[in-house]
Amino acid sequence: MPGRAAASTLRSPALSGGPRPAARRLRETARDRSWNPRRVPKEERDLVVRRSATSTREARRPAGLSHDRLIDAVAAGSAPAIFGLSLLERHLHGLRNLKPAPTRVIIDLAAGAAEPKLGDKRLYRLQLEWRRGGESYAERLGQVLAAAAAESLLVLDATTLADPRLPATLAVRTASTIVRSREAQDRAAILFLADDHDLILAELHANPGTPPPWPPVWSKPGACRC
């Protein structure tokens, strides 16, 4: 009986007014760099979630962790599959397990490219948004940033093999962060932007024609970038 549990939680003296110890502790824990939602005791997690419990997923986001995630993905079929799964599918699986789920997953395809079929129907539960355009990378990223407003953004590339644990690690961060490959000669990167999009917009305005920091193959038509 979630509704009854939520009501009793709201009536409890500890949560009826003033600072809520459990909520405060969760927020403080969230600031911790090594925070992992599974390590927060379940009863405390539930307290914070149920405080604003409704039937919608949007309202179930824990307080203090309510940043939306917008993932820009530009896909292409040029990259080989790993164990039968395309790199785009691997990225999406990493995002599928995120809690809360990302609000949108924007996948940028090359102009005229067909929408790739995703082998796992669970991936379609994500709010996928397929885009096709011939604009440059900077232009497309600028468009997404402008539309994202204060939402956070995770920028992935569909020619990289990323650890599926990374999105969850980045999602709880409050500051923009870059993840680079641990191999010195590998230029793979993941960019997580918190709400400070001005930094990136300024960088894009300062260097509008510069190629992305990733290998040149991604700039070719048909290449994918997410």
């Binding site: 090594s34 080989p80 599959a81 020619t159 690690t169």
Partner: protein
Amino acid sequence: MAARLVETGRVPVLKDAEFNGFVRRLRRTLPYHLFTVDGPERAAKLERFLLSNYKGSTDLFTRYVYPPLVWLLVRPLARWRVHPNWVTLLSIFLNPRRYSVLGRRLFHHRLHHGLCMSVLDSVDGKLARLTFTDSEIGNLMDHGLDMVHPPLWYLSWAYGLGVATEGWSSALGQAAIAIFAFYVVDRLVLKIYPYIFKARLPHPFAHGRVGAELHRPPQHQPTPLHHRLY
């Protein structure tokens, strides 16, 4: 752009210490990976790298015999998009066949059923993790089979070795019963211990300082990709 943002100090880079690499199911701490895939050769290397993130070796078989077999099986199964639960079901199907074989003293002829089952046991878990198809029911079937079949194996083996003729009151029969009983007690202890000590192995102190030290990710380690390939 990412490089410029880092060089100018506008956006920090994720440090190793900021990434909690402990994987509970593998009971290992694995640093994160991020690689460019720019061709089939690189993809093949990365497949080997992903497969090398094994749970760990506890004996010579899991160290030297199983990995090549698992590699041979996982690649085509993943490409054909075979669900790991089918592999587990096949393993379950082989299980009673193996008991009947052992019980009829034919284990020297068809003992490969046992080997097949143990290899398949490695394949299904690996396949599930590599293709993101792990599920609760698959986990239950896999670990349930792991838990149930050893005592049946002991009893059927003893039956085939001589209990069938000598009876359960013989030394062999008594030894088989003792092994069975110890196995059950061992499993019970593993289940009861966490409830008694209010902790969960193998990381009972995950919230405290001890856990932080135990599960602190390795720092300043280069990517061991070329070391992990076999």
